[in-house]
Symmetry: C2
Subunit: 383 residues, 2 copies
């Protein structure tokens, strides 16, 4: 079992305040402040959450955002970010930053890359230059970038993947995990391990056994939400959660919809990231407690109501659906801003609601009520 956290040498810590079933609420302590869990991290791939200003993320209650190692290493470069005081300071964000390792890009940009035993050979999507990402280099880059929560380099198993492919992938991920731990130089920065195993339960177990035996500060379930059916994602996520130690934060990577988050918190996950609230906003798709709505639809053209009645976000307190539709159709930047802010407010409120429900031991009721409303809305206004 991993050693207890919060030792003198480490800035990173994780405490659980309350549990309700498998769901739990607590706090991450990082070199850049505390983060209430369960926590959703907005995605700021290139050190910017699209359409948002850093102080707005803070005002919405976000204390932890995700940035992308691969993209930032290519541009503007880890050295430059280090020279400017680290990624948080670089982007003007007062909270903490988690960086992924580049493993996901090895999969998503697969045509440009070659994976070998030693690491991933990237061909830059910007200029075609070659860039070798080894486990050691992934940690070095993340330390230079000034990440508060670093992720070990993994090979993200694609979907679908043959069993043999998934098996090779998890074994490689385990070797790389060891090398990442060995490469670490700054103990104040947390380093998380990632389990793989595709959609094969026994491989998930083997990967979890390998990775959780190592002294990581937290553990992530990777290789999910990469195209597999929703039921399979939830099944593998549920299994993986039981395989991750309770005293460490559990991070379900790349998930998800509001419904997914409610389900996954019920499984015992503490951390999430997903492009959905921001990307959907830029495509005119908006979250409400009664499901999603598409601001493009003509039905909103003369509607003086806010996106969601009673919503306290800046968008809803000031702008009507009719105006937002006008902005969206006109291609105004303010459309992306206003819809993104609403969606991130919605996600922040959802996470706060889950935290409070767990603390008051009413998570089951909260989850049922939330799921009921969300599902009802989606049916009422199909996308």
């Amino acid at each position: 079992m991993p050693a207890p956290l919060q030792t003198a040498a480490r800035a990173f810590g994780f405490e659980v305040f309350a549990c309700d079933g498998d769901a739990r609420t607590g706090r991450l302590t990082t070199a850049h402040g505390e983060v209430a869990t369960p926590a959703f991290m907005p995605v700021g791939t290139r050190a910017a959450v699209k359409a948002m200003a850093p102080e707005e993320l803070w005002q919405l209650g976000y204390r932890l955002v995700l940035a992308n190692t691969y993209h930032l290493a290519l541009r503007p470069g880890a050295e430059l970010i280090e020279e400017l005081g680290g990624v948080g300071r670089f982007m003007g964000f007062d909270g903490a930053v988690l960086t992924d390792s580049g493993g996901f890009q090895a999969m998503s940009l697969a045509k440009l890359n070659a994976i070998g035993f030693d690491g991933i050979r990237f061909r830059s999507h910007l200029d075609g230059s070659e860039f070798m990402l080894t486990p050691e280099r992934a940690v070095e880059i993340q330390e230079r970038i000034g990440s508060d929560l670093m992720m070990a380099l993994d090979e993200c198993t694609p979907y679908p993947a043959e069993r043999a492919r998934a098996e090779a992938s998890l074994e490689l991920t385990a070797r790389w995990a060891e090398r990442c731990l060995g490469a670490r130089k700054r103990p104040r920065r947390a380093l998380f391990g990632i389990i793989q195993g595709g959609v094969y339960p026994d491989l998930r177990k083997r990967s979890a056994a390998q990775i959780t035996a190592m002294s990581f500060d937290g553990f992530a379930a990777g290789g999910l939400a990469v195209g597999e059916p929703k039921e399979q994602m939830l099944e593998m996520a549920a299994l993986s959660a039981t395989l991750l130690p309770a005293e460490r934060p559990r991070y379900l990577m790349g998930v998800g919809t509001p419904e997914d988050l409610v389900a996954a918190v019920g499984m015992g996950y503490d951390m999430f990231d997903c492009v959905l609230p921001t990307r959907n906003a830029r495509n005119g798709s908006v979250y409400t407690s009664d499901g999603r709505l598409s601001i493009k639809q003509a039905i909103h053209a003369r509607d003086p109501r806010p996106l969601e009645e009673g919503c306290g976000c800046r968008t809803c307190t000031r702008l009507s659906r009719a105006y937002l539709r006008h902005l969206y159709i006109s291609g105004e930047i303010l459309a992306a801003r206003a819809l993104t802010e609403h969606n991130l407010y919605f996600y922040a409120r959802l996470m706060a609601g889950m935290q409070a429900a767990i603390a008051s031991r009413t998570y089951r009721e909260f989850a049922a009520a939330t799921m009921g409303r969300l599902g009802g809305g989606s049916r009422a206004e199909p996308q």
Copy 2:
């Protein structure tokens, strides 16, 4: 001479508090609040100042923005805006809104339009449908839109224009001006007349004599900054200012650069609009007291300094040139936001500086110092 303003039937008023030479500082009173003059109006063509949120404009000190009659009439339509409470409420802006009349679009979209004695026949740039803008219709639309300061429909003389063309244009503008006044139904909304005359001094005088004999609430010099040499623009602006009555606000349409504004305030103008601060920002061009800088340039790649040392805008208090360049090169929406906010802050501060200098009778010194710095910077860092 026009009758005194501030009668009981009118919400609109204009007072001059102090003069220094021809420069003056004062206050516009509108149905939606007061506006300190000299005032710069950010351009919100489609009821949104590009990349900005309405409350940010307010926080920057803007109490008056410009929106475009032609664009809004086509989409979302004047009826819809009226139904939703008027353009200010529609766009969530707590201040006042001036609308131009559509005359400028008759010129700028000339291929799509035909100008006749009765009005301008537009072919929609959106869907090709026909749209007839008469003087009466221009006023009706602006009243429906809920404009606080309406502009009479004019024929904006293009540059270059033969004398006969400019003469015909000003005569048509005068006929239309009369018809606009006759069409007015809501006296709480101000209506401004526009003088034309191209770059012909005697035609400017004739146009001014015609238009200022009518009972408009304010007067604008139109048909400038449409492609003529800078010296000619300034010469015609200076002449036009002397032809406009001192007791009414004077509006120099479509102007301009910081240097232009300093010069034009010195001529006695009170109001300005221009796309430069917002459009330039989106192209990476930033105003500082020492001239413009282009954030694209490699020289900024590792520069930890703000755009302008000592600038109090949100961008400068939080974000470095290096980060802003990274955002710009990466195509992040936040680049447009942050640079636009800085430029509008710069313009707001410039106007406030001019107001204070006039009040303290030091405008000449202020103008000389400002021009000296601005010019020096432009030379030091050419665009």
